[in-house]
């Protein structure tokens, strides 16, 4: 089936997602958006690729925790980073098919398997703030809300200081005394510069609403469940963007789901780190976890896989045991 997850990600703390850094200042990623009058306005863009990478990690974590397993280097790289292409100049369709049937996460995110790049089934659209400058690309339903909000009011700069604690006299007792070499030239002593610095980040303000869309093309119910499983992991630490160690990027989210014209407006939400799934969403997740439970003891293969011995070979190679 084809489906769409769409909704609002609301920042509950400042959000950092940088494009470039000049000296100690870092600036937000901005996309030019063409306005109706032909002018261009720069608006913050949270890359769909960033959310996609984060969800790939979350879905993989959920699967490995649920199955209580670990992976070898190549399989880990495939699950978490999308894999690599290389090795023998052969294309093994059967092996790719076996992996896709047994590991739904690979099926929806795609990746490099052997010498092939297998496409995924999802498109994580770039994410833009609900503001008047982004109206040309926002859905009509959000325009009324967006028209009264200007992007100019959504960003701010914040500075942080990194202290060189070795230079703090109060910490002097905790530093082992360096043995002075009698013939050490004074020049070398002078080169020991302070580690102290002050850096400034451009940030998206807390309280800003960002519009996000994930398109799912030709997915099964189990594969939708595989995507939703990632939100369980995401809810543990619902941060997007960088500098989460400073508390940046804490978010709430709410996605609706539409498939075959049927809308579920409260499909999935995370509020204050608490995950809520609608009954329909829970149904997809339970179908997915049932497959994970089944593959703990047996491997799945449809009638198109003729060489049954190959199933075990491919899956043993994947799990590394």
């Amino acid at each position: 089936m084809d489906a769409r997850l769409f909704g609002i990600i609301k920042t509950k703390s400042p959000l950092s997602h940088i494009s470039e850094a000049i000296s100690t200042n870092s600036y937000l990623v901005q996309d030019p958006i063409l306005q109706d009058d032909g002018t261009l306005e720069e608006v913050f863009c949270y890359s769909g690729n960033a959310l996609r990478g984060q969800m790939r990690d979350c879905c993989s974590r959920f699967m490995l925790k649920h199955m209580d397993r670990k992976l070898g280097l190549d399989s880990f790289h495939l699950m978490f980073s999308g894999g690599k292409i290389g090795g023998d100049q052969v294309v093994d369709i059967q092996a790719a098919k076996i992996l896709r049937q047994n590991i739904p996460v690979i099926c929806i995110f795609g990746g490099g398997i052997g010498n092939q790049i297998i496409a995924g089934k999802m498109k994580f659209q770039n994410i833009y703030p609900v503001c008047k400058e982004a109206i040309p690309i926002l859905p009509r339903e959000l325009c009324e809300k967006a028209i009264v909000r200007s992007y100019v009011d959504m960003t701010h700069e914040k500075s942080f200081t990194r202290m060189d604690d070795a230079k703090n006299d109060l910490n002097g007792d905790y530093i082992s005394k360096k043995q002075e070499k009698p013939n050490e030239p004074d020049e070398k002593k002078k080169k020991e510069v302070s580690d102290q610095m002050r850096m400034t980040s451009e940030l998206i303000a807390a309280g800003v609403e960002l519009y996000s869309v994930i398109d799912l093309v030709g997915v099964t119910e189990i594969e939708i469940g595989a995507l939703l499983s990632g939100f369980y992991e995401f809810a543990i630490a619902p941060y997007i963007g960088g500098q989460s160690n400073k508390g940046h990027g804490y978010v709430d989210l709410n996605y609706a789901f539409i498939s075959d014209g049927k809308l579920d407006s409260n499909f999935i939400s995370i509020l204050d780190g608490k995950l809520n799934l609608s009954n329909e969403a829970l149904g997809y997740v339970s179908k997915y976890t049932a497959i994970l439970d089944r593959t703990k003891t047996e491997f799945i293969a449809d009638e198109s896989i003729i060489d049954k011995g190959k199933i075990e070979k491919v899956m043993t190679e994947f799990w590394g045991s």
């Binding site: 690729n49 974590r61 070898g72």
Partner: protein
Amino acid sequence: MKPLQITAKINSFIVSDPWSPSIDSVIAYWHLFEKMGAEEFHLSASTQTGLKLIDDLPLDKFEWKNDIWWWRCSSPTYDAKDMSLKYIHRRFDQHDAESYMKSKKGNIMTKAGPYKNFRGGFNHVVAKNISWFVVGDRHEIVRLLNKCTNIGAKASAGFGQVKEWVVTENPESAELCTKRPVPLEFADESGLAYSSVLEWAFRPPFRMSENRTICAMP
């Protein structure tokens, strides 16, 4: 089959040359996706051997000679308001590796080799609309294009989102659809103007060797 103008309402997309994305390949993608089913399509699309000649698109064929034919559709036209480089990144997840990877002797090299971290730049074009002129079956083209949410490269990363597809009748399309890469011999024979000559595919799938020849580029 009628002369049509296809317009995708977008904000921006990633493209590597002025003749892409070609509408015959966009239509062919969704036509095959539907015909083969998602699984078979994705698996065969990743292989050179899985490529097959597509001859049943809802587009009119222009037949030249010796089984050489192509779809009657133009290259894209758009008014680029801005162009810039956009970067996407891929890195080895060291943090997760500590928890979910079996312990391994030695280091994992991320500056080179198969696990190399990646920062790739892509040519990002800002344009409000992108249009093509075709001769084809309007109803079927609309049905297939409505499945297409993104055009251009890096669609899975959110680039080239299509807000709306608009397909209208345009009598001039029959004439304008000649503005596309065609075999050089045909261009010289017909007196078509061209800007450059490249080895190119004159019909999809573009990676299929039978579809490639020296082409005159508009």
